[in-house]
Every structure is written in C-alpha cells, then in structure tokens.
C-alpha cells in the first residue's frame, strides 16, 4: 500500500465516522423539532438529550480531523478546494457554529424555547446539504481555471440536477441513519413510545434514501462517465450495501433484532461510502487534482502517519471509556442516574 492510499483511506474512514455520528446528531435535532411542532415532544426529548449530551463535542472533532488531515496529506487541496469552497464552507461553518454553541446554551442555560428548537432542527438539515455540495464539486465540471486560479461556477452548480439529487441523498441519509440509531437506543432504554415513533420515522425515510441513490446513479452516468464506469466495475460493493439496507429495513419493519439492524446500517454506509471513494480514485477533484499530484513530501507523510498511530493509541481507549460509560451503560441510558455538574 502506498502512503497516498494509506493517507486517503484513513481520512475517508474519519469522514465516514463523521457521516454516521454527525447524522445521528443532525437527525435527532430535526426529530426533536418536529416533535415540538406536532406536540409530541415529550416522547422524544428525553431519549435524544441523554444520547447527545455527553458526546456533542466529540462529533465536531471528526470533521476537524478530516479537513486538517486533508491539508496535511494533500496540501494542494488547500489551493483548489480552499479557493472554490469559500462560500459553501463558510455557510456550513456558520451553521455548525450556531447549532453547536446553542446546543450548549440551551442544555445548560434555558430549556424549551420553541423557535430555538426549530432553528436547531433546520440547521441540522442545512449543514449536510451545504457540506454535500463538496462531493458534487469534486465530480468536476463546476470549476474552471481563470488566470491560473480555480473559479467555481455557481450558476452551473445550482442548476445541475446532480447537485440537488446529492442534497436530497444527504438529507435522507441523515434522517434515516438517525432514526435507525435512535430506534435502537430507545429500545435499549426500554422506552416503548419513543421506539415506536422512531421506528416509523426510520421506515418513512428509507424510501427517499433509495430513490435518491438511484437518481444520483442516473445523473452521474451523464455527468461523469469515467467515474460512473468505475462504479460499475465495483458494482458488487454497492450491491452488498443494498442487500444490507434491505435487511435493516426488514428487521425494523418486523420490530426485531434492532442491534443487528444498527450493525447492518453501519455496514451499508461503510460499504457504499468506500465504494464511492474507491471509484473516485485517483481523483480528488476531476480533472485537476489526484491523490498523487497533490500528495505531500515523504518526510511529512511519514511524520503524519507516525503521529496518527500514536494518536490512535491514545484515542481508542478514551473512546472505549466514553462508550462504556454512556452508550453501553444501561443505568445511564435508562435515565436512572444523572451526574451532570
């Protein structure tokens, strides 16, 4: 395995981590807001608060890790993506900032403001939408070089059906992932009402998820033939992912094996996400940037890999402790104990 592949794989893994736990967080905010609007807040709030409270800050770190790592391993991305993403990334930062800080303000300051819940829920959908634009841009066709500098064509971007189908996928995926996870969590907490409601949400959002994926495949076959053909080459990965999806929905439908459903959900997204990444190889930005011509020098690459391994040795036990205390601790999940400062 070359250092280039190693670097991008590690980063991709962290982005997958962000995709999963970020989705749970964003979706939870949306369901909570929806509950407030429809007067069913009492069913969900407790479950959602108990999960989110100790982990909210950790979610953000996955994203930071990804973009810092990308610039470290592939410094040229700073030039191409830094220049073109000014507007979409700034909007995403502002939404993330408002959402993240107001979560803390609300949890520790004052609870239960309706307008706030609504904003919090809406921001949770707008963030994945604005971040997903990066994936669209990476497919090429929206960036041109003017006087040696990359320039983003906003008109082409916002009138492309590919952009919008990816936005729909991002939102549907967020809501689906979140609903499946929270169904499992509520079931573990023994909260039947919440389980029932969240199960319904999971089933509802499975449909748009499947449809948007098909839509993207179709758009991509016209927009970026090279990428599409490479996707066909590894169709088995997408196929396996689809099978996992069907089984997950089946389990949720039958109201059984929620733990399996959760595991399969992670498997489904991991496979699809890596299949997408592999078929994108070697391009970071079609057709300007590949992982080879943007790669850092060997000395820095080695240093980063060593730092990464040492960092993991520190992080894995810490994450294990966090999960053990909060995610896999029955008393905590069921709300028997509350030891907040």
């Amino acid at each position: 395995m070359t250092l280039e592949i190693l670097g991008i794989s590690v980063l991709w893994m962290f982005l997958l981590g962000y995709l999963i736990i970020g989705s749970i967080d964003f979706g939870a905010g949306f369901f909570n807001a929806y509950g407030v609007l429809t007067g069913r807040q009492h069913i969900l709030t407790n479950i959602i608060q108990r999960y989110l409270s100790p982990v909210w800050e950790v979610t953000n770190v996955f994203l930071v890790f990804f973009f810092v790592g990308v610039v470290g391993f592939f410094p040229k991305t700073a030039f191409y993506y830094g220049t073109t993403l000014l507007v979409p990334a700034s909007i995403a930062i502002i939404l993330l900032a408002i959402r993240g800080s107001y979560y803390a303000f609300e949890s520790y300051g004052s609870r239960g403001h309706k307008g706030y819940s609504f904003m919090y829920g809406a921001a949770g959908l707008l963030i994945p939408a604005s971040l997903s634009v990066v994936l669209t841009i990476s497919e090429g066709g929206f960036v041109s070089m003017v006087n040696g500098n990359p320039v983003l064509d906003y008109h082409a971007l916002f009138t492309s059906p590919l952009t919008w189908s990816i936005v729909v996928l991002a939102i549907a995926a967020v809501l689906y992932i979140s609903a499946v996870f929270l169904t499992w969590y509520a079931d573990k907490a023994g909260d039947r009402k919440a389980t029932k409601l969240l199960r319904k949400y999971a089933l509802i959002w499975a449909g748009p998820l499947a449809i948007s994926v098909i839509g993207i495949m179709f758009e991509l076959s016209k927009h970026n033939v090279e990428h599409f053909n490479r996707m066909i080459d590894i169709a088995w990965m997408f196929g396996l992912s689809a099978i996992m999806f069907v089984i997950t929905v089946w389990f949720i439908w039958k109201q059984q094996h929620y733990s399996w459903a959760l595991g399969l959900l992670v498997g489904q997204f991991a496979l699809a996400f890596f299949a997408y990444g592999i078929s994108h190889y070697p391009y970071l930005l079609y057709p300007y940037l590949t992982i080879y011509d943007s790669f850092t020098n060997p000395a820095m690459a080695t240093a980063l890999v060593v730092a990464f391994v040492l960092g993991l040795l520190l992080l894995i036990p810490s994450i294990y402790l966090l999960l053990k205390l909060f995610l896999f601790n029955k008393d905590y999940i069921r709300g028997k104990k509350d030891h907040h400062a």
Partner: protein, 448 residues
C-alpha cells in the same frame, strides 16, 4: 494574480475571527487548570466549598468551551479558505503540529464529556479528579501545537527552497524553530494567568455586590495566589521573548520600541507619539532597551534603519506592546499586594476600591491577551511566512470575501451575546448560597 479587495477582506476577517476566538481559547486553556486546583484543594482540605467552586466553574466552562470549539473550527477552515496559497506551502512543512492539535482536541473533548457527566458517580472524589487531567492536558497541548504553527510563521525553518521547489523537508525541525520555546511558554502561561484573574474578578464582583459568603473569599485568595505565580512567570518569559526578537526578528522589536537608528546605550521608549522619526511626549528610560535586549546597558540594538521600508511592520504596534506590558506589570503588583496583604493583615486589600481594581483586572487581562496577539501578528507584517511569503501573496483570489465578513460578524455577535446572557442567567438562577443550602439538604449536612 492578486485580488486586492479579497486580500483586504481576508485580513479583516482573519483578524476578527482570531480576536474573537482568542478570548474563548484563552479561557479554555486556563480554566481547566483552575478547576483542577480548586478540586484538588477541596479534596485535600476536605472542604466542600472548593469542590463547589470547581463544580460551578465547570458548569460555566461548558458555555465558553462551546464557543471556543466552534470558533476554533471556523479559524481552522478559514486558514484554507482565506489563505489557500499559504496553506498549500505551509501544509508541506508545518502540517504535523496542526494534525497533532486535532488529537489533543479530540482527547480533551472526550474526557470533558465524561468529566461533566460523572459528578458524584464515583465514591472516591480523586477518581473524578483524575478524569480532569486529560482535559487540562488536552487543552494546554492544543495551545502548544497551534502556537508552534504561529512560531513557524515567525521563524520558518526545516526546509530549503531550490528553484522554487521545497526540498529537504524536516517536519520536526520545523516545529522546533527558534520562536517556539518563548512563544509557546508565553501563550500557555498567560492563559493560566488570565483565567485566574477573570475568575478572581467574578469573585470580587460578587463581594462588591454584597455577598459576604466565605466561599467567595476562599475563591479570591486562591485565585490571586495562582494568578500571582503565573503573572510573574509571564513577565519572565516575556523578557525571554524580547531576547528572542533581538536575535531573530530585530525589525519587530525595533518597530515595537520605536527604535529607528541602530545605536548603543539605547533608551526604552514608553508611550508618546511619532512625528516622522522624532518621538514626542514619550517617557524615555535611559539604557533600558539595551539592557532589555542584551542584559547590558551599553549594548548596541539594531534599529529600523537596517531594513527596507517595505519589510517593516507598522509603527502602531508600539502601543500594543506598551498596553500588554503595562497591564502585565499592573497585575503582578495587584496580585502581589493582595496576597501579601492577606498574609500580613493589611486592611486596604479588603476595601471596596481594591476589589474594584481586582474586578477591572479580569477585562484588563483579556485586553492584554488581545494586544499581545495583535502585536505578534501585525508585528510580522508584511510577511505571513517571514522572508518567504507575503500576506498579499497568500490570500484567496475568490470574490465574496466581503459578504462572508458580514456573515461572520453576525455570527460572532450572536455567539458573544448568547454566551454572556446564558452565563449570567445560569448563575443568577442558582446563586452559591442557594446551592450550598440545596446540597446540605441533599446530603444531610456536613457543611460549615
């Protein structure tokens, strides 16, 4: 090709983000240590008041850390969004500490979550305190790694440029640049100092408002002791920083001191105004600059005349330097007077006016932090990477930076106002007297 308005607005937006972020970042680095000290003293003395102190600070800390995290994310991304050319170059040489910082941040975030949600979960308080150690280490290490990157911008090394190509790159050597030791030490120690004085200001404010509870007195005495130690340390390290500048960035020192001509027996200029190269209305301390720079009152100090005019920083950094140093000295005096006064039983340290001085010390320390960072950043101008890349060459070429500036202005107003409102409400709804009563009722009372 440069886009002049993009350069201008990129500078303004970066300055705005950093100026806002540094307030929360400084508190974020310093306060965990204060919580740790208070909890430790509480366990040692078996005194619930100190434990409560730690607990209440931890609660407030959540709010400031949230703003620190999100604005830190903002500046992290803005580096690439606003300075893509710089990051492309710097990424090759100094990406390592940036990468390591995310691990420190990760580590801190995990244990902060655990610490906050495990109060009273352990029989043994010491176990709970142990969980705070990674938080404090993570917070301080974040500051260390980020400051290393800033030090590199001032004294780049660990690479060679041959025919416009970066070769012979040594990431560790780049981290261990000559600006690193003094800069890192100064940033970390002043963060501890500022956190102590900000918390002390709150305690003194409460006492001014008529709360005579022994809780505030204990808090104030503890914090002034801690603050004194770190204020003295800041001054000593500050002196080393000046000696670093003499050696490696003489133009920065010369501009900060309004030292125009290279000369021996150089005086130290405080305040004043410039009229061309003439300094008016200033306080001049004879030989002091030579002594400060070389520990020798007659030594020669390099002046601004040795440098091309377009490679020296603007002269207004002189005022930033004076502000930082004066506030630092003032806080050493205030905290020393208070600590000595308490030990010796001087009555003036318990008067209203002295408490007002302590209250003023909180915002003043923050102003010193701001002045220090503006001095560090403006004093490096026109370079973003000293002698290799100018700020104007580093900026983005894309349009719309001005609109982003307006959006971020709005964001920081919301976050600033929001955090203050929430913090005030949090402690007003649950004053210390009431919390002590509640805890008594809960535990069946081993309180004094």
């Amino acid at each position: 090709m440069e886009n002049e308005s993009a350069v201008f607005f990129s500078r303004v937006l970066t300055e705005l983000t950093l100026s806002f972020h540094i307030i929360y970042a400084t508190i974020g680095v310093g306060v965990p240590l204060m919580i740790m000290i208070a909890q430790w003293v509480g366990i040692k003395k078996n005194d619930e008041h100190y434990i409560l102190l730690a607990r209440r600070w931890a609660r407030g800390f959540v709010i400031t850390v949230a703003v620190g995290v999100v604005t830190g994310t903002a500046i992290g991304l803005q580096l690439s969004l606003l300075w893509p050319n710089f990051m492309q170059l710097a990424g090759n040489v100094i990406a390592l500490p940036l990468f390591m910082e995310t691990f420190a941040f990760f580590f801190e975030a995990i244990f902060l979550g655990i610490y906050l949600y495990t109060w009273d979960r352990f029989e043994n308080q010491k176990k709970h305190l142990l969980l705070l150690i990674p938080v404090a280490i993570g917070a301080s290490m974040s500051a260390v790694f980020i400051t290393i990157v800033n030090a590199f911008m001032n004294a780049p090394q660990g690479f060679d440029v041959v025919d416009g190509q970066l070769v012979n790159i040594q990431p560790i050597l780049a981290m261990l640049n000559p600006a690193m030791p003094t800069k890192v030490a100064h940033v970390v120690v002043t963060a501890y100092m500022t956190a102590a004085f900000v918390l002390a200001a709150i305690a003194a404010f409460k006492m001014l408002k008529g709360s005579n509870h022994v809780y505030h007195k204990k808090a104030l005495f503890l914090l002034m002791k801690v603050g004194l130690v770190f204020a003295i340390a800041s001054a000593i390290i500050g002196d080393f920083s000046a000696k670093y500048l003499v050696e490696y960035q003489p133009e920065k020192l010369a501009a900060a001191e309004w030292h125009f001509e290279t000369e021996k027996n150089a005086p130290l200029v405080l305040f004043g105004v410039t009229d061309g190269e003439e300094v008016k209305y200033a306080i001049k301390v004879p030989y002091a600059l030579s002594f400060l720079a070389h520990s020798n009152p007659t030594a020669e100090v390099i002046g601004l005349n040795e440098f091309p005019e377009d490679e020296t920083p603007p002269l207004y950094i002189h005022y930033l330097f004076d502000t930082m140093v004066m506030i630092g000295m003032f806080m050493v005096l205030v905290s020393a007077a208070y600590v000595l006064g308490k030990i010796r039983g001087w009555s003036f340290v318990s008067t209203k006016w002295f408490r007002r001085v302590i209250v003023a010390g909180g915002p003043l320390s923050i102003i010193a932090i701001e002045a220090g960072w503006w001095l560090a950043e403006v004093g490096r101008q026109p370079w973003i990477l000293r002698k290799y890349m100018k700020v104007a060459e580093a900026a983005t070429t894309s349009d719309h930076v001005d609109i982003m500036l307006i959006l971020f202005c709005g964001l920081y107003i919301i976050l600033g106002v929001g955090s203050v409102v929430v913090l005030r409400r949090m402690f007003r709804h649950n004053p210390i007297e009431q919390e002590i009563e509640d805890r008594k009722a809960e535990k069946g009372g081993d309180f004094s």
